[in-house]
């Protein structure tokens, strides 16, 4: 293999699994170290650079970082990255602000944004400091989009959301509340320099089975949650069936529990291994004594005298066909009595307000064609992000869409090609403090993942807004931060210094190093000290070593970044260097590589 080019920021970035897995590439290990040092405010603002809503995300993020976390491959449980973020948000100094200054004189460019959700807010966050005038058109009376209307207050307290939204709005964003956009053509005719569509995926899927429209006690999940939020609905029948088993279904059934639901059941068509909800949301739901019934396929609503009294389900079993597709087999029907039904079986996009003859091409499923890199539609100056772009994702994706769209909008307004994207840069800095001393806590800590403490069940249902998770206490925090493997502190190798004494190979607790004759990747992987079988993880290959011409190979898969290779290296051929990814945002040029 050719020697690995570690000056390409992607190589070391990929080693930091959480950061690579995060759509916004939040510098997770660094913010965890700042928490470990008690520097909560620093940690919060480091978070905010990339993910804009640390307090919100520290409670609600879908956490793509956690399944990616290297710790999962070491002891089965990822670092509680998400909830540590909340620690930083909760304990920061609220009086300190590090927001950029907004220029007193604008740049004369006016941007219209449709919808005040996380995507639009991120665009404003990035463009306001550059002097743009941002105007958001929001159909509801409050900002936040689905963050506000779909995430119940017991998971995300209103004040946390308000605070982080206000940081952006207080930059001088002009929000026109209760102003739905009925025609994009009309909006475009107003002569904006750019338009950003961040209107989400606001249409809950329906269930077209007999009896659907014969009762007013059948609700669409996201609409129902919105009504609960705006206090149009404050009660529900005692027996509630929630159809669907995604995260919205979890929010629906838990909300129902708080509005008077006594016997609340989640009805799933498929069996447990195919559930869409996050593992932790399922666990939190079951803790609230909601029964999740698998293999129940809804067939009809049962009404008596025009009143909803139950639902009929077909009992099914699932098996995978030879083509890999799931097929069901029915085993009779069952009737389950209920007073209310909430449908939470997915969301659709809907763009009835976008005319089809204004140069915006539409593709499959009546969705506008959006470029994956520039977020621009086929009409120059019209951009789409968040759930509106490619259907329902989650907040952190919407934030990243916002960042990228802001870069494009800035380029568009400066008459630069939107396809020119500023490149990531990096800093690589040695962490050596002395003989066998490093700037970070490098010893492997065998602590188990901290369990989130929840408020007592009785207390919990007292009021809708009682937050369930209490957050980590100081002891839990202190233990959990030490579980982080500091994957950003890279094992950096300088081949010409190596004398091939094998010290690093012998000391490595997870056997990730080998000095070996070079070869092709496939057979090289097989020949290592322990074969490198996780193909998602790269192997590092050095240049030819000076004494024998062999190469140093490192399997990145299970490295715990303990630094023992560098401690035991007599010639400092190994060094522990902190990798810092430099991410350019709107108005910033490509970032430099300092390695």
């Amino acid at each position: 293999m050719e020697p690995t080019d570690v000056t390409n920021p992607d190589y070391y970035h990929k080693v930091v699994d959480c950061q690579w897995g995060c759509p916004a590439h939040t510098n997770v290990p660094e913010y965890i170290r700042l928490i470990a040092q008690g520097r909560f405010t620093d940690s919060y603002w480091l978070n905010r650079e990339s993910n804009v809503f640390p307090g919100v995300l520290g409670r609600t993020c879908d956490r793509p970082c956690e399944p990616a976390c290297r710790r999962t491959r070491i002891d089965g449980k990822p670092v509680a990255i998400c909830r540590l973020k909340r620690v930083a948000a909760d304990l920061r100094d609220p009086t300190e602000s590090r927001l950029p200054e907004i220029p007193k004189v604008g740049n004369g460019k006016r941007i219209a944004l449709v919808g005040a959700g996380p995507a639009s807010l991120t665009v404003c966050n990035d463009l306001m400091p550059l002097g743009y005038e941002c105007v958001i058109f929001e159909q509801l009376s409050k900002p936040g989009g689905l963050m506000r209307t779909n995430i119940p207050a017991f998971r995300l307290p209103g004040n946390v959301l308000d605070e982080e939204i206000d940081m952006i709005l207080d930059m001088g964003v002009d929000v026109r509340y209760s102003t739905p956009i009925a025609s994009l053509k009309a909006l475009l005719d107003e002569g904006w320099d750019a338009v950003f569509i961040g209107s989400g995926a606001p249409k809950g899927k329906n269930l077209e089975i007999p009896g659907r429209y014969d009762s007013d006690r059948v609700h669409i999940g996201i609409e129902w949650l919105e009504s609960v939020h705006f206090e149009h609905i404050d009660s529900i029948g005692e027996r509630v069936l929630v159809i669907g088993v995604g995260n919205t279904a979890m929010d629906c059934c838990r909300t129902a529990k708080r509005l008077g639901g006594k016997d609340v059941r989640v009805m799933a068509r498929k069996s447990k291994e195919y559930f869409k909800a996050s593992e932790w949301e399922l666990a939190d739901t079951e803790e609230e004594l909601v029964e999740i019934m698998e293999n129940h396929s809804p067939t009809r609503f049962i009404l008596e005298d025009g009143k909803l009294v139950g639902m009929e389900f077909e009992l099914v079993t699932w098996h995978e066909g030879s083509d890999g597709r799931l097929r069901s087999q029915a085993h009779g029907t069952v009737e389950i009595p209920c007073d209310d039904v909430i449908l939470a079986i997915g969301q659709d996009n809907a763009f009835p307000w976008i005319e089809r003859d204004i140069g915006i091409e539409f593709g499959d499923w009546e969705m506008p064609v959006v470029d994956r890199t520039t977020f621009q539609t086929t009409r120059d100056g019209v951009f789409v992000g968040g759930d509106a772009a490619w259907g329902p994702e989650n907040i952190i994706w919407a934030v990243e869409h916002g960042h990228q769209a802001a870069i494009s909008i800035h380029s568009h307004c400066q008459r630069m090609p939107v396809t020119d994207r500023p490149a990531h840069g990096m800093n690589l800095i040695s962490q050596k403090m002395g003989m066998r001393e490093w700037s970070y806590s490098n010893d492997y800590n065998p602590a188990e993942r901290a369990r989130m403490t929840h408020i007592d069940l009785r207390e919990r249902f007292r009021e809708l807004a009682v937050e369930v998770e209490l957050g980590f206490d100081p002891e839990q925090t202190a233990r959990e931060v030490e579980r982080c493997l500091n994957c950003d502190i890279q094992t950096h190798f300088i081949d010409y210094l190596c004398i091939e004494c094998d010290a690093c190979i012998d000391i490595c607790p997870v056997d990730c190093l080998t000095i070996i004759g070079n070869g092709g990747e496939v057979e090289l992987r097989a020949r290592l000290t322990v074969p490198a079988e996780n193909l998602e993880q790269d192997i590092y290959v050095s240049g030819a070593l000076p004494q024998t011409g062999r190469v140093m190979v490192k399997d990145e898969d299970l490295c715990v970044h303990c630094g023992l290779c560098a401690e035991r290296c007599p010639t400092a051929a190994w060094d522990m260097r902190r990798f810092e990814l430099i991410i350019p945002y709107a108005g910033q040029a490509s970032c430099a590589v300092h390695a």
């Binding site: 004398i499 094998d502 010290a503 000391i507 056997d511």
Partner: protein, 350 residues
Amino acid sequence: MIQAKPKVRHPGLQKNALGLTRRDYEGSMSTLCAGCGHDSITAAVIQAFFDLDIPPHRAVKLSGIGCSSKTPTYFLGEAHGFNGVHGRMPAIATGANAANREMVYIGVSGDGDSLSIGLGHLCHAVRRNLDMLYLIENNGVYGLTKGQFSASADVGSLSKRGEPNLQRPIDPVLMALTLGASFVARSFSGDRRQLLPILKAGLVHKGFALVDIISPCVTFNDHESSTKSYMHTRERYLEVVSADFVPPAKRIETDYDVGTTTTVTMHDGSLVRFRKVGEEYDPTDRAAAYRYISGKQAEGEVVTGLLFIEEGCCDMHEVAGTVDQPLTQIPFDQLVPGSEALSDLMRSFR
């Protein structure tokens, strides 16, 4: 600073017949200088015991004084061990082996411990053909006392301060050949591919297995004018035979080209297979081996490999005619039958 190697391990780590991983054969973390050749030898010893499925508690590790003699702490944490006075390890090993012949003995010594203060003990352990693996971790200097030349330093090699060594070295390999050793090898800490099968064969060999291992001292003797540095050893390295160790279980499934190899069957049924690397060399001909090694030495080359083997000699117990049962397992009243029995014995000599 990390005080102990983290217990975390690779889940894909191989297990041996005992269900143990290589990590189970480790000791505490080395306190030797970073990059010391001895640490690499320690790792090879760990691998050898693991590969041979030897239960750690059935091993006895012995040493004297010196950097080398610290290393038994770093492998087989669950084995028996004795760290004796300077140079006396062979005597202690003899006593231990006399008492319990069923254990696996490994002694780790250095060029100071073995070739200066303990030279006499080493010679007699060879003569007795004591059943043990005896390693000399040879770096040409007294590392623990700041780098003075040892008895194995080559003439002309410079100390770190620039002083040349003027006295002729003692070569443990040539010496062992003249003393009638039954297993003599030389290897290099930086070549585990070669060292590992030699260690395994040495552990299986019934009798005294001496392995002289060039093991660079990174702190005092790894500079440009050293003849025991990583670089110098790699430049002058002459592997004359390559030994493969084939355990009994693998014997059947291994086929080999009889024409190009010499094969020695060990007492437990395993094989040591020699592959010719360069010139004609016969590892079973003592006189020829001596001639070849000393000739190459005069040319400044470091001859390595399993250089001589003679399987089937009598070890100490056979010469002494001791009982098969380890003395430690014989009931005390039989082992020490009392003064009456002694008197009877003495009478029988009259």
